[in-house]
């Protein structure tokens, strides 16, 4: 299965929308860099992210979230936070990686 990475905020670029329109059931999405803004509770994107999570496992790169002041308590429930070693594990555990830039 595919691992998708998204590095842009959904409030800035539309790569999150493009990605979820392509992501197949059982694939995973890892949000990195400014992509981490999608994981915050209470934004206009929360509903869309939660809908996505029904079919796709969503991860966030913890250090990038932390660097932007997004602590664990403000991350949507069910989204798993990983560090860089976790990022590597995700790439190894999926067949290939698609970076949405």
């Amino acid at each position: 299965m595919l691992l998708h990475t998204i590095n842009k905020s959904p409030f800035d670029k539309n790569t999150f929308d493009i990605c979820i329109s392509h992501a197949k059931k059982g694939s995973s999405i890892l949000l990195i860099e400014d992509g981490v803004y999608a994981v915050m509770k209470g934004t206009a994107y929360e509903g869309k992210v939660k809908d996505t999570m029904k079919d796709v496992k969503v991860y966030v790169l913890g250090p990038d979230a932390k660097a932007r002041g997004i602590d664990d308590s403000s991350i949507i429930d069910g989204i798993e936070s990983v560090d860089y070693v976790g990022f590597v594990e995700l790439t190894a555990n999926h067949d290939s990686v698609q970076s949405w830039l």
């Binding site: 590095n7 560090d83 860089y84 070693v85 990022f87 990686v97 970076s99």
Partner: protein, 130 residues
């Protein structure tokens, strides 16, 4: 597992150089192998030894050079992208009649075939860019 890395964005622009570097460190920590790092488009600006950031900032070019020296990692700049942006090794400088080369230690200049080879020979190709 073998990893190939593609960096498409210049240093100090957004975050691709930092993300790629930290990812590579984690790959090595996890006992995997980096087959090659290929720098394309503005990414070639990672490989100039004339980079001089403020003293309290990270030195992205030196950081790559040290990583290459310590771990024997192959850092490749795309030749066409490098020519356009004024990055040259001694051979390229001579070939184009320039008075100096500026490639950083640990980097080499080669063609796109090196990216294709990295895609074929690595188990995963991870792209960092803007």
């Amino acid at each position: 597992m073998k990893f190939g890395i593609l960096v498409n964005e210049g240093p100090y622009q957004h975050q691709a150089s930092d993300s790629a570097y930290l990812f590579i460190k984690a790959v090595l920590e996890s006992g995997h192998e980096i087959m090659r790092v290929f720098f394309y488009h503005d990414g070639v600006n990672n490989g100039t030894r004339l980079t001089t950031p403020p003293q309290d900032d990270r030195h992205i070019a030196n950081r790559w050079s040290e990583l290459a020296e310590k771990n024997g990692i192959d850092l490749v700049l795309c030749v066409a992208a490098a020519q356009r942006r004024g990055i040259a090794d001694d051979d390229e400088a001579k070939r184009h009649g320039k008075d100096a080369s500026n490639i950083a230690p640990g980097f080499r200049i080669s063609g796109l075939g090196q990216l294709i080879e990295a895609g074929i020979q690595s188990d995963r190709l991870i792209v960092f860019g803007d």
